[in-house]
């Protein structure tokens, strides 16, 4: 009897287990559990970052639902089919939802929520029921829906048994997002079908507009009439010159031998440091570590030669933390180094080489011309060299933070190396760095000048007003006086304090012009010329002759160095293009470079097409 009871009991238990299992199965299969039990939005730390995400702007999200190897696969993922990787998200049965991704509007940035583009890869299992589903973008403020948009997937034409892509665009202008508005993206299956979802992509967008106000040229109203200093400007092209480095990231590349890994953050100076050939410049490259190199172009070999500077111990000791300035201070035509250390000055130059095309690594000695054991410029904010007196050697303009200045000239007998010629405390526009951001550049900015002028570009820190001034040293009054009225230029082509003014070949004999290279978020390289009254923009400058589509202007960091590097008296432009490693959120913006296949690091030399630069 007990045996019978026991068997009966076991039988009942078995039936109960089977019933429960059946109920669970049926419930799982047919009940809209996902609706009843709200699917948890995914904990994204469980997913592996898709490497493709690095190629997209930060305003995009890409989920391919992959988890780290060895991690248990969550129940709402499938490992049976995937468009990429091994896993995809399930939306099985009527009223089922895929994993939902959530963000707050604040996280995305409300400015980035003018519109959203979405796409996903979908797999619909074979079956008879007509599909009805949507890829949904929804948002709510405190659980009150403020927007619901979907890409509808329905109709008998929807493919089955294969992956297909869906995509859509939703205009969100007019939706009242708040920083804590909750955004959700998910796939909603509203039919008796089974869907898989993979490679969900979301691109939030800000205003689609280009920067600027409005076009200035409207050809629908008549023919084009050029207006002074108004865009669009004509284009000129800098042509790539062959320097035997295969446009690589090394200045010298000869088979497997390569060196000259210059980067935009190096200090790179040009001038006749070692070359005996008049009218040719060398490159002096150094950083605040070990690097101290000289390169000189060898015309016979059509490549740069690296030279090994031999520095006296006293110079080596002085270099760390010192400021290095070049100029022809004691001898016209000879480019010298002025090393301004914490506790002294040292002026010297490299020996001149008649045969600079000898083997790479040839030594060049540095000789000290003069030195002082005291630094008279320790409180200098800016030191600018130039022949302000018109005497064929260079002087030093020393500018302090408060705008006071002093002008110094090399004097052999002077124990301080330089002697004071003039000084001033008067208000020169833009020179007081307590009130202004400023950048000073010296050069022969105007035609027929016998001395260098100073171009000051400044921005009022407090009011944001920008301006520039062109100044000449007046020996009589011992002061710098404005050459032009200068003034404020507003609009697109305003000189900025972080812009560079680079040497540039003259358009015609006697004419002077410069390359204006802007470092703002866009790219601006223009040829400009100064006159007694203003500066004029002559052209936009672009590059030509680069490999594939590796235009130097596309690099995240582009350095342009001008000098007479390849031909006598012909200005060429060394360009160094590098891309940065992506920012590390923990370490901040990096200074390391990455060599990308789609834009490999490069060093090239460019030159305007003919001698007049046309």
């Amino acid at each position: 009897m007990n045996v019978v009871r026991s068997k009966r009991f076991l039988f009942l238990v078995l039936i109960a287990v089977l019933l429960v299992a059946g109920a669970v199965f049926l419930g799982y299969r047919y009940l809209p559990l996902n609706r009843i039990f709200k699917v948890r939005s995914v904990d994204e730390t469980g997913f592996v970052q898709d490497p493709r995400a690095n190629t997209w702007p930060s305003s995009t999200l890409l989920f391919d639902f992959e988890v780290a190897p060895g991690t248990p696969i969550p129940g709402n993922l499938s490992d049976k089919q995937a468009h990429s990787g091994k896993l995809s998200a399930k939306a099985f049965g009527k009223n089922s939802y895929s994993i939902s991704f959530e963000r707050t509007a604040g996280e995305i940035g409300i400015d980035n929520l003018r519109s959203v583009s979405v796409s996903a890869w979908i797999y619909l299992y074979p079956g008879q029921n007509e599909p009805l589903a949507s890829l949904v973008f929804a948002a709510s403020n405190k659980k009150i829906n403020i927007v619901w948009k979907g890409v509808s997937v329905n109709g008998k034409e929807v493919p089955r048994g294969k992956w297909f892509k869906i995509s859509g665009f939703f205009d969100l202008s007019g939706v009242g997002f708040k920083p804590d508005s909750r955004l959700e993206i998910y796939f909603w299956n509203n039919s008796d079908n089974d869907f898989l979802v993979d490679d969900l992509f979301i691109a939030f967008s800000g205003p689609a507009e280009r920067p600027g106000d409005s076009t200035l040229v409207d050809l629908t109203r008549g023919a084009y009439t050029p207006r002074f200093n108004y865009p669009p400007f004509p284009y000129e092209f800098l042509e790539s010159r062959e320097i035997g480095n295969a446009q690589s990231g090394f200045l010298v590349m000869n088979g497997t031998i390569h060196f000259g890994d210059l980067n935009p953050f190096h200090t790179i100076l040009t001038g006749p440091f070692i070359t005996a050939e008049r009218g040719m410049d060398d490159l002096l490259v150094f950083d605040n570590r070990e690097k101290f190199e000289i390169y000189s172009f060898c015309t016979e070999k059509n490549e740069f030669n690296r030279l090994d500077p031999v520095l006296p111990v006293q110079v080596k000791n002085m270099l760390p933390g010192s400021r290095i300035i070049t100029g022809s201070f004691s001898t016209p035509g000879k480019r010298q180094l002025l090393i301004i250390g914490k506790s002294g000055l040292l002026l010297g130059n490299f020996q001149t080489l008649d045969k600079k095309c000898s083997d790479n690594g040839a030594q060049v000695k540095f000789s000290v011309v003069n030195q002082a054991d005291k630094n008279p410029f320790s409180d200098a904010d800016t030191i600018l060299t130039g022949d302000f007196l018109g005497v064929t050697t260079d002087q030093l303009l020393v500018l302090k933070r408060d705008g006071s200045w002093s002008l110094h000239r090399y004097l052999k007998e002077n124990t301080e190396v330089f002697s004071l010629i003039a000084q001033g405390t008067g208000p020169i526009p833009g020179w007081n760095s307590a009130n202004y951001e400023r950048r000073l550049t010296s050069g022969r900015f105007l035609q027929n000048q016998t001395s260098d002028l100073i171009l000051t570009v400044y921005r009022d820190i407090f009011h944001g007003k920008k301006g520039y001034a062109l100044l000449r040293y007046n020996s009589g009054s011992k002061s710098f006086l404005p050459v032009t009225p200068g003034g404020r230029i507003v609009g697109l082509d305003t000189l900025q304090t972080n812009d560079e003014i680079l040497s540039c070949p003259a358009l015609s004999i006697g004419n002077t012009c410069f390359l204006w290279y802007s470092h703002d978020k866009g790219f601006k390289l223009k040829r400009i010329a100064f006159s007694d009254t203003t500066y004029s923009i002559l052209s936009n400058v672009d590059f030509h002759g680069y490999r594939q589509d590796f235009n130097p202007k596309y690099f995240e960091i582009l350095r342009i160095v001008s000098g007479r590097l390849l031909e006598k008296n012909q200005i060429t432009h060394l360009v160094i293009g590098k891309n940065r490693q992506p920012d590390d959120p923990k370490k901040g913006p990096g200074r390391d470079f990455t060599d990308r296949k789609d834009l490999p690091n490069t060093i090239q030399v460019y030159q305007f097409k003919d001698k007049t630069g046309k």
Binding site: W56, S117, E157, R210, E556
Partner: protein, 654 residues
């Protein structure tokens, strides 16, 4: 020797006689069955006695062929044949007649012709005793003088012998002499040109008493007359209607047919007529083969096409001048230009039309070709100028096949040069003489350029059937549109901010352009399956997605991606619009015998035009706002640096 010579001559003579007999036998017209009509018998009706060009012979049936003579057609319309083709410019017909009753008498006869290739069936498909609603639109005719009625034979003797009846006729435009195609008293037969395709010929012989009210109605005797319900198609009347069983009346459909085709010669010159070119003023580029001379007016089969440019289609273009096809323009270049120019640097413009007629089009009489070119541009003269030619002689229906080498559109990087190669048909005129058949459900949208609020009208003159080939995306199925493009940010310090990848479906199709096939039905809701959005339609084992934005949208479009290199990288390619009364089929291919279908619509989803149209071949810059979702926007494509040529080699309409 003389004997030998005689026998040789004899052999030669016999051989010649035998040869002639054999050749005669070979060329002898196949005997046609006799047809009795009560008191007479008719046989051997040959409508084309004096036209010998046989294209096809099959048993008793022969199909002769003729190519339209363009001489004088611009003012008089086409006539088939012309003086250049047969002696007196008319077809000679003949038939044999004998009376079967012992009384000599005259009989009455009439020749009808009808275009069989592009016609509606004569009888209603539900009730064959009723004329098909659209059969009156068929191109049929008879004597040029419609008032002539039935011609009378000579007296046929009751001698039990056949008597030959001969006569002349020709096929002309406006064969019903409808006032609709008149200007004042002038019958402008070119407004209803003979259709291309195959013609049949119907001989009707009857007796005098049948020409009264109880026999053949006036509207059949004189086809210019219409009954209360419209014209009576004589083919319907005699082959399906009351005329089928009329006593003492015989209808004989000739076993010969005539295939008519048109081959407008591109080398015959380009006429300048469009007022947009100010033909009388801008004569600087005129030459013998291009200009506004009276000689070219008579001979040229093409005109320079003057695009109508909607001033509302302004766009602001980047100030870059470049040869996209040659200068290795890349996606990175595109992304950069799309991102970094300030608005102040852009050029506001609209596509232009040449202000110097004949500067960008040229006819080559030796090669029998026309070259068109979008001109290169320079700083200060930025322009995206459309170019093209249009035929001058309109047709209704036809298989329009163009052989052309139009410009490539994509460079090896998949970048688009901004051009749309278009091969299209457009209504010859929007005047009432060329109005489409009435739309019986809601009417048509009144204007091509009208908006959603445009009024609806029963009839319009506008019609257009397009091949537009450009870089764009499919609109169907709807869950594909638009691709998920990512906005760029004007910040060059991070490459990924501006050099944003294109969606994979765009990249995968880098080498393809989209062949867009469109019928402008002016949003007539009459078709049974008229719909908005996407719908499928099948033809020849292929399924096509047809798309219409909304129920007031005036056109329906199908798109097929095709390799740019194949269509425009080869020496030439064929583009065919097969416009039939109830459907339109678009085909392309490397040769005329290797065409493939790339688009199909029929009257169940769209209203098929029935008015006279011309073919336009253009290379034009479209505002991509018309082409939603396109990967490259016209604004961000450089102005062309060099001329962009295209060549038209051949156009046949058959």
């Amino acid at each position: 020797m003389p004997h030998t010579s005689f026998s040789n001559r004899l052999i030669l003579a016999v051989t010649l006689v035998m040869s002639i007999l054999i050749v005669s036998a070979c060329h002898e017209r196949p005997k046609q069955e006799e047809k009795a009509g009560g008191r007479f018998v008719v046989k051997e009706f040959d409508p084309l006695v004096n036209w010998k060009v046989v294209e096809e012979q099959s048993g008793n049936d022969s199909r002769k062929a003729i190519v339209l003579d363009y001489t004088g057609a611009i003012s008089d319309g086409f006539t088939i044949p012309t003086l250049n083709q047969v002696g007196d410019g008319q077809f000679e017909f003949e038939f044999y007649l004998k009376t079967t009753e012992g009384q000599s008498r005259t009989f009455f006869y009439k020749i009808y012709y009808q275009n069989e290739s592009y016609k509606y069936p004569e009888a209603d498909d539900q009730d064959s005793a009723r004329q098909n609603l659209y059969a009156e639109e068929n191109f049929y005719g008879s004597w040029e003088d419609t008032g002539k009625g039935f011609a009378e034979t000579q007296k046929i003797e009751a001698d039990d012998d056949y008597h030959k009846i001969t006569g002349r006729f020709r096929i002309v435009g406006n064969p019903r002499n409808e006032r609709r195609y008149f200007d004042g008293q002038e019958n402008r037969r070119w407004k209803r040109n003979p259709r291309v395709g195959t013609y049949s010929f119907l001989l009707v012989v009857t007796e005098k008493e049948m020409l009264g009210p109880d026999g053949i109605p006036d509207e059949v005797q004189d086809i210019s007359k219409s009954a209360g319900t419209g014209f009576i198609n004589p083919y319907f009347f005699f082959l399906y209607g009351k005329g089928k069983n009329l006593s003492n009346t015989v209808s004989v459909k000739a076993s010969s047919t005539l295939k008519v085709s048109a081959k407008p010669d591109p080398g015959a010159g380009i006429y300048i007529a469009n007022a947009i070119f100010k033909p009388g003023e801008n004569t600087g580029h005129y030459c013998k083969s291009c200009g506004a001379s009276e000689e070219l007016n008579k001979t040229a089969a093409f005109e320079q096409f003057g695009h109508y440019i909607d001033p509302g289609t302004k766009f602001s273009n980047i100030p870059v001048i470049m040869d996209v096809l040659q200068d290795n323009y890349s996606k990175k270049d595109y992304n950069w230009n799309r991102t970094f120019f300030h608005k102040e640097e852009l050029i506001t413009t609209i596509p232009a039309v040449s202000s110097r007629p004949c500067q960008t089009v040229a006819a080559d009489p030796l090669q029998h070709s026309i070259t068109i070119k979008n001109p290169g541009t320079s700083y200060g003269n930025w322009v995206k100028e459309n170019v093209g030619v249009i035929t001058r002689h309109g047709f209704v229906y036809g298989k329009w096949t163009l052989k052309a080498k139009l410009t490539e559109l994509l460079n090896p990087n998949g970048l688009w040069n901004g051009l749309t190669n278009a091969v299209w048909l457009i209504s010859q005129s929007q005047e009432t003489w060329n109005a489409r058949r009435n739309c019986n459900k809601e009417g048509y949208m009144a204007n091509y350029y009208g908006g959603q609020q445009d009024q609806r009208v029963p009839s319009v003159g506008y019609s257009e059937i397009d091949f537009e080939i450009l870089k764009t995306v499919p609109y169907c199925p709807s869950y594909l549109l638009p691709p998920a493009y990512v906005q760029r940010t004007a910040d060059r310090s991070e490459l990924r901010n501006w050099n944003v990848p294109f969606p994979e479906e765009i990249v995968e199709n880098d080498a393809n352009i989209m062949v867009c096939c469109t019928n402008w039905d002016m949003a007539c809701w009459e078709p049974a399956n008229f719909a908005e959005g996407c719908q499928t339609i099948s033809f020849d084992g292929k399924t096509f997605w047809a798309h219409r934005w909304d129920k007031n949208y005036r056109a329906i479009t199908e798109k097929t991606p095709e390799p740019d290199d194949e269509l425009f990288g080869s020496d030439y390619y064929y583009f065919q619009i097969d416009w039939q009364p109830t459907c339109i089929i678009w085909r392309i291919g490397p040769s005329k015998d290797k065409l493939r279908v790339v688009g199909y619509v029929d009257q169940t989803i769209t209203s098929i035009p029935n008015n006279q149209m011309l073919m336009v071949i253009t290379q034009e810059f479209h505002n991509t706002k018309w082409w939603i979702g396109s990967p490259y926007e016209q604004d961000n494509i450089p102005f062309p640096k060099n001329d962009i040529p295209g060549t038209i080699y051949e156009l046949t309409i058959e």
